[in-house]
Symmetry: C2
Subunit: 277 residues, 2 copies
Amino acid sequence: MDKQQLFENIKRKKTFLCVGLDTDIKKIPEHLLKEEDPIFAFNKAIIDATADLCIAYKPNLAFYESMGVKGWIAFEKTVKYIKDNYPDQFIIADAKRGDIGNTSAMYARTFFEELDIDSVTVAPYMGEDSVTPFLTYDNKWVILLALTSNKGSHDFQLTEDANGERLFEKVLRKSQEWANDDRMMYVVGATQGRAFEDIRKIVPDHFLLVPGIGAQGGSLEEVCKYGMNSTCGLIVNSSRGIIYVDKTEKFAEAARTAAQEVQAQMAEQLKRVINNQ
Amino acid sequence: MDKQQLFENIKRKKTFLCVGLDTDIKKIPEHLLKEEDPIFAFNKAIIDATADLCIAYKPNLAFYESMGVKGWIAFEKTVKYIKDNYPDQFIIADAKRGDIGNTSAMYARTFFEELDIDSVTVAPYMGEDSVTPFLTYDNKWVILLALTSNKGSHDFQLTEDANGERLFEKVLRKSQEWANDDRMMYVVGATQGRAFEDIRKIVPDHFLLVPGIGAQGGSLEEVCKYGMNSTCGLIVNSSRGIIYVDKTEKFAEAARTAAQEVQAQMAEQLKRVINNQ
């Protein structure tokens, strides 16, 4: 999917919501445990209930890997289900990979060739040759960690160099030498508030993947105020705040209601972008 | 496995070699492709040929993930084979994971509970709460990226802060607040030469996992000169330089010969540690 298509989807559906599929066997409704593949059964129900309200799904690899082979099967089935039934969805493999060149190339092969996923989250610590192998595929995206939503983001990402540039700013600046806003996005946590202003000075046109609303406490309004640009420029993720609001047989309906609430707020925020076109 | 056991293995076997199982279906000998599980068949032969010459195995997750479900099966079988047949081996899941707390906890569950692996490599970019979930298991280790072997290590890891402290030094210093040398190791590339001197000033007692000899060009002699401490303190990895030296039916013998050469050099280097005891 290219940037224009993504923006068209956002305008058409009046949402920039990404539903995070952090599917944990210990948290899904009990009645699903008798299914042959409970993880996939859960995902399928969530996807069917929310697909018209979001433009992206983000399976978090950790949750699938923790189930071993069964988890991988559920992950692959989930990706295939989305692609077959909702081909306008942007799929994000939230994997936070990054390794030396030949290893990153293997990860790229997994996500982009084997699974034909649109994008993968990548950690920048190992630098250019750990990221560029992901950039050689047409219409596939790297979503590079910049300023994350967690408390630990303060440990290293905010470290200033001798010129006063913070590490996450250096990541934003340096990585633009590797790819432009047609192939790269950045992770910026919703909990980072006004840092979005500083970030937009460095990457005015890029899409940002924004986790951290809902369970982690970030504010959608603040994210839009400081982070939205003329092509929206935001994919805002919610995981626990949507998929786990109810644990009865009505979990999918409840997820839909939660997603509807977010979508309505997003439609409101999008007015300024759409009206300005 | 605790630090003392690891050092005992090193002294007894006169080696601190880790064999990297970067097993790529495109690189293994052709005759194995007719096996039911070619990746596992290759690993099994390599392990049987080298187990007395090394103290650790490091499967690189990227290579298994790129094969999807089949790859995960091969990975799990490999881990089980090592544990069943060579229980003195220290197993490193080279995964370079690191995510927000609840996600890192899922990864920790995968590697430490489900698979009972000794250690996992972790990326530090997301800070404390992305690392600490891996530190709650007895006799399990985090191997944190500090100064990696690749060219891209210069992009961010060497950035100096206002006080002249480089990012990798900050990672070494800060992470000691989270765990000591009984539970934490660091990745330092063999290509980093004299940086080992600086690193030993900050972490004199920790084990370092050192990739980058062989195909990547690092020197074992230099690594030992600047990096060895009184309990050896080094686990030196070789992957391509051992597992892919021959692609005929004699691949395992050739791997053994390559491993023997490295082991002989290591035995020589270990004299100074063992003689000083």
